[in-house]
């Protein structure tokens, strides 16, 4: 395939992926908007009004970046894991496998779909946030690059999960037992400085903590972690996950016999 054909192929996969989650907007876009609104009402307004400022910000303002990024993480992951596994389950992944599409384009197409949903949900959740608070934009470049890198990373993670999955249970185990705890313990609702020293050290091993704080820096200008370390970690994870997912696809793991 020449470059033009590859571009057409990527567009075809992206179009299909975006159409899929857009068609299912009641299941894909609306729920994170509602849950974020509830977080704002309960944690931000009702409980948050009883909590003192964190790093110089009202509690409501402090949790905004984490809530946006949490929605981006969950939806990027969820989009790719569901879409790829479903294409394996219904066997329409074979439509791509018999075509001249190289594996890296298949991967980019699915990850692009996860990224598109991550951005769409991130945008929708940001809009909801604006009903409750004003978001100061400290550094747009950092905010956007962290959001895109995080969305890409969790799209890749969702793809790896889907490649290994052999049942619908397999695509819910990781989000429920790994992703959700790591996200909630990733400093979305608190600053790690509130934790005892031991748990602060433990928290530093949580990659989501770096993403949340880097994104928070982009919006609010405050962070619990070193920004350089955060970027290096996020990019390194992206490279490793990209290589790993591509390796699985090249081996035909889970899709070719």
């Amino acid at each position: 395939m020449n470059g033009r054909e590859q571009l057409i192929a990527i567009k075809a996969i992206l179009w299909k992926e975006v159409l899929r989650f857009s068609r299912l907007w009641v299941q894909t876009i609306l729920p994170p908007m509602i849950s974020t609104a509830l977080y704002f009402v309960i944690f931000g307004r009702l409980i948050g009004s009883q909590i003192h400022d964190l790093n110089g910000f009202h509690y409501m303002d402090y949790i905004v970046p984490g809530l946006i990024l949490m929605a981006v993480i969950t939806n990027s992951y969820g989009n790719v894991v569901a879409s790829f596994y479903s294409s394996k389950f219904q066997r329409h992944i074979e439509e791509m496998l018999v075509s001249p599409l190289p594996n890296y384009l298949i991967m980019i197409g699915f990850v692009g779909g996860g990224l598109a949903r991550g951005i769409a949900v991130g945008g929708a959740v940001t809009l909801v946030s604006l009903f409750f608070t004003v978001i100061p934009l400290h550094n747009l470049f950092i905010a956007i690059s962290v959001l895109l890198l995080t969305s890409t990373l969790f799209s890749l993670a969702g793809l790896i999960n889907a490649i290994y999955a052999t049942s619908f249970d397999d695509i819910t185990v990781i989000p429920t037992f790994v992703l959700t705890p790591l996200t909630y313990l990733g400093g979305v609702f608190y600053t790690v400085t509130m934790l005892p020293p031991f748990w602060q050290h433990i928290s530093m091993a949580n990659p989501i903590l770096y993403m949340v704080n880097a994104f928070r820096y982009g919006l609010l200008g405050v962070s619990d972690v070193n920004l350089n370390v955060a970027f290096i970690a996020i990019i390194a994870f992206n490279v490793v996950f990209f290589w790993y997912a591509l390796n699985l696809l090249n081996r035909g793991y889970g899709v070719r016999t």
């Binding site: 054909e5 192929a9 075809a12 066997r91 018999v98 075509s99 001249p100 016999t257």
Partner: protein
Amino acid sequence: MPTALSIQNLSKVYQNGVIALQGIDLTVEQGDFFALLGPNGAGKSTTIGIISSLVNKSAGKVAVFGHDLDHDLAAAKASIGLVPQEYNFNQFEPVIEILASQAGYYGIPRPLALERAELYLNQLGLWDKRLEHARNLSGGMKRRLMIARALVHEPRLLILDEPTAGVDIEIRHSMWNFLREINEAGTTIILTTHYLEEAEQLCRNIAIINNGRIVENTSMRELLSRMDTHTLVLDLLHPLAQAPALPGFSTSLPDEHTLEVVVSGHSSITQLFMALALQNIEIGSLRNKTNRLEELFIRLIGNKGEDA
């Protein structure tokens, strides 16, 4: 001019130890309508899976129009259109989107993809269903959708793995006509089927695979010429109590109005009628026993349109 398909010493051993192919060799010439037949589990689908890159081979060489699968996979894939045995499209997608996406994976721009989708959906009688979700189509329509999808990038080699399984006879015959047309237009076709009449009607050359080995590879005409007997079914005008003895023929009487006669390849039908006349047995009609019900069904329903 390279052959459409060249397979050399192809083997496949699955991870569970099952030996699906034991070093098969096969050549399909350009423009051929080729039947790959065999019982269930013989290795037909594995062979097709390897050709279309859905199954990894254990050993051997496969080339499609001279493009080796090991060294020139993308070009080989671009030459192939696959109609698999099982439905493998997104059941929740509209028919036209299934075709447009598939064309996109081959680098065909969307406007051209939609143009071709219209062409093939029209030819296969599915244009009216283009906006329907695939799951709402009947079995026959789903089969035709997979044929349209396999053709949307205009492959030179079309591989059909039991394309008419579960399809009613009327639709099956309309699919046969369509396949004949695209073969005459230059597309090489490889067909696997359990309906032997289908292979007999459509294919010029044939390979029979059994236990992962090619046990026969010849022309259809040559194979059929080896058939040394066939059974004629005679409808009697007057009932008989027992099967008559006809010199040179084996007879049986399924019911008092029906006489079945096994005719060997070297026997004369004239001799048969003479023997019947000698015994004053009058015949109302005569037909070949094979595909008798199918022929009757086609005659009864005619060509009254598409399946519902």
